[in-house]
Amino acid sequence: MSFEVFLGAIDALFTYETMFWVVAGVFIGIIVGALPGLGPPLGMAIILPLTLPLDASNAIILLIGVYSGSMYGGSIAAILINTPGVSSSAATMFDGYPMSKQGRAATALSVSATASAIAGVFTITALILFSPVLIEMVLAVGTPERFLVAILGLAMITVVTRGSLAKGLLAGAAGLLVTTVGSAPMTLDRRYSESFLLYDGIDFVAVLIGLFAIAEMMKLAGEEGGIAEGDVVIGGGIVEGAVIAIKHPITVVKSGLIGMGVGSIPGAGATVSNFVAYSEAVRSSADPDSFGSGNEIGVVASEASNNGTVAGSLIPAISFGIPGSSSTAVLIGGLLMHDLRPGPSMFDADGELLLTYTMLLALLVGNLVILLFGLSMVTRLGYLTKIDTDYIIPMVVVLSFLGTYAIRINPIDIITIIVFGVIGFYMVRYNYSVIAFVLGVVLGDIAEDNLYTALQLSDGSFMIFVNPFEYGRWLSPVLVIVICAILFGPFVKRSIGRVLGT
């Protein structure tokens, strides 16, 4: 990296005006992230034309601040009301919400703020230091690798499923079936979608909201009191939460890196990385059974990964103009609007490197804002969990429907929420893994599309996934090995243990 340009960027960043836009961006981002449905793409698209009077760096800093803030903001609704504010916070619900039920909402919120901020700072620093290497890595990930990442995620079903593995696999398969609805990627067939409302399939955000928010509200309707159970005292220190995140540096760093890695793959993005990081935390834990019932490490992993995704998704966006998601598409629109062309010049000292550094440094500062704001103000929202559910349920239900409908204004999403609300309610009651189901729903399309395209590339040969010599794709066989390790590792380990034990 060019040190002089770096110093110049520090100089450019620390002005009152620029700092104002950093803070404003993160603040807006937290709010749009926390409101279900009102995700970062919509928030950023609304702000985009308003950035016209700003100079280029402030405009981009504002947009990127919204993006970053929303990744953290999504955890607020996930923890407090079991509703993913943004889909990339879905895994935060698994342990964040049980913590709220135990009266530890404030702790969960502070874990989330701290893990988000540390992972954000870590991954952006990595991006600043290693951008040339990372750019090369992004190009190594193509269609076959994307398929394998989806399979990796599906293999995680065996890790995250507690209790009956058969039920877990069944739930995962049911999730995959949901993604078959809609137009087929390889023919002109429309599967179960005579109406155009189903042409693009069943929206997984609506499925998530139904499975979690609505199913949980149905359950709460049968209980008295607030979300926090019975007479638990609302306690749980803010400091305690911060300490928990700091005490798990490996989880933070690993999840941040997973977020960055998977986030840099266009089309996979934050939601997939979120689940992969969570599953990895479960897999590597000494006490995997405690996940799903309020294990703080689950929140750490989930929240570290989605903030890591921000840095990851910037690599293809800035260096090639490739939008990995709607959010980065709007960001690229912002760059173009301010006469900045994504491309290698963004990382060239004679080009726009100064702006790139300023933007990344602003993100670092933005993560500190997340930390301060998260620890000081957001944690107070924990008291929401003490309010009687008679007031909470209608609010959450209305917010869930409105928010989901706002995403693509498709009435079918309303039906989706209701149907999957009921399904989620009974899945929990009969001990079917909701996480396995969600993994199927999130990954099915990615797996199918990329499998078909990969096989077109190889003329139908599956060797494209395993033979690095013929196709020059070294990452594919590595991913295949990792998948095999996840699937068969536990059996092999047990067999070895048995042999050694005898």
């Binding site: 950023m44 409302l197 266009p266 090639f320 062309r341």
Partner: protein, 333 residues
């Protein structure tokens, strides 16, 4: 306007008449009387959305009312169109469609509930279309080089934007009629993924829109090598034109961002919106935006828009054997 189109219009007019549409005499003076809704049948951040968000603020000034941009993505822009079809025809609701890609999708999906001709054109605000991009690693400089490379077997794959789309048909036509002898056509999920695949050299060449081709060139690894449209591209003044190698493909490759209103929206009201679009297109800020982003702003008034709009479906039917196309899509799968 041919006879068939005329008959259809009469049918729609009488149908609407029965549900209480009464004359709009003097509409122009009162219009607009409330805020307007501009339906964009694509997501936030896409090309069509960016045009609308650029033009809307200037149009608001001209019209004296606010404009809400309403993104209704889905079914390759058909879902939003279906919604627009059912809206009031008082001019306060209009939308943008990208013609003739929109008509193409409508035809392939065999929509029966409405026809493109049911809508009333207002204006067009921009033009975009397809080019072919290739990865620089293969030393391709023009379309001739690309033809040779595929013919010699140096290259195999060619990328396009989704099964059954116009870019799929163009890909087939390039091989049938323009001697581009690719071995496998590889579908990607839209323009962004095609660009990415060509930049990373997963596929040596593919179809990209002119604006995304600019972005792809900026990556330093990719060049636009042939313009598939008839209009000249300022961003690529020196590249080949497909017409040097065969007939024009503009009926498939050149899109106008057409503003349309629901059936029987009165002409005087459409005129008011059209003038606002003109102001917005000619605005200095918009022109500057176009120059910076490589988007092409080009205003066409009601008459010009109508001329472009009318008969598009007929022309597509004339040029394209859709049944054969659908059969070939199924065969490939």
């Amino acid at each position: 306007m041919d006879r068939r189109r005329f008959l259809k219009s009469v049918g729609v007019a009488s149908a609407v008449g029965t549900v209480g549409f009464s004359g709009h005499a003097g509409a122009q003076e009162d219009f607009p009387s409330e805020s307007l809704t501009w339906m964009i049948p694509w997501s936030e951040g896409g090309g069509t959305d960016q045009y609308a968000r650029q033009l809307a603020p200037v149009m608001e000034e001209s019209l004296g009312e606010s404009i809400e941009i309403d993104n209704r993505p889905g079914a390759g822009s058909l879902l939003g169109s279906e919604w627009l079809f059912e809206q009031d025809n008082d001019g306060h609701t209009f939308g943008t469609v990208n013609s003739p890609g929109w008509e193409f999708t409508w035809r392939v999906e065999e929509v029966e509930a409405w026809e493109p001709d049911d809508f009333e054109p207002i204006s067009f605000a921009g033009v975009f279309g397809y080019t072919i991009i290739a990865n620089d690693a293969h030393g391709i400089e023009d379309f001739g080089d690309l033809q040779d490379a595929y013919a010699d077997g140096d290259l195999d794959n060619f990328a396009y934007q989704g099964v059954g789309t116009d870019s799929h048909l163009i890909t087939l036509l390039l091989r049938d009629e323009y001697d581009l002898d690719w071995q496998t056509a590889v579908p990607y999920d839209g323009g962004g993924p095609v660009n990415e695949a060509v930049i990373s050299d997963e596929v040596p060449a593919g179809i990209a829109t002119n604006t995304s081709a600019i972005a792809a060139e900026e990556s330093g690894d990719v060049s636009a090598i042939v313009n598939l449209m008839d209009i000249e591209l300022e961003a690529f003044p020196d590249i080949d034109e497909i017409t040097e190698y065969g007939d024009s493909l503009a009926y498939l490759t050149e899109f106008r961002q057409m503003q349309v209103a629901p059936a029987d929206t009165p002409e005087d009201v459409r005129e008011v919106i059209s003038e606002a679009v003109e102001d917005a297109v000619e605005d200095d800020g918009s022109q500057e935006w176009a120059e910076e982003t490589g988007n092409i702003l080009e205003y066409g008034d009601i008459d010009e828009a109508t001329e472009e709009f009318d008969g598009t479906v007929e022309e597509l039917e004339e040029q394209v054997d859709f049944e054969e196309f659908q059969e070939r899509v199924e065969e490939e799968a």
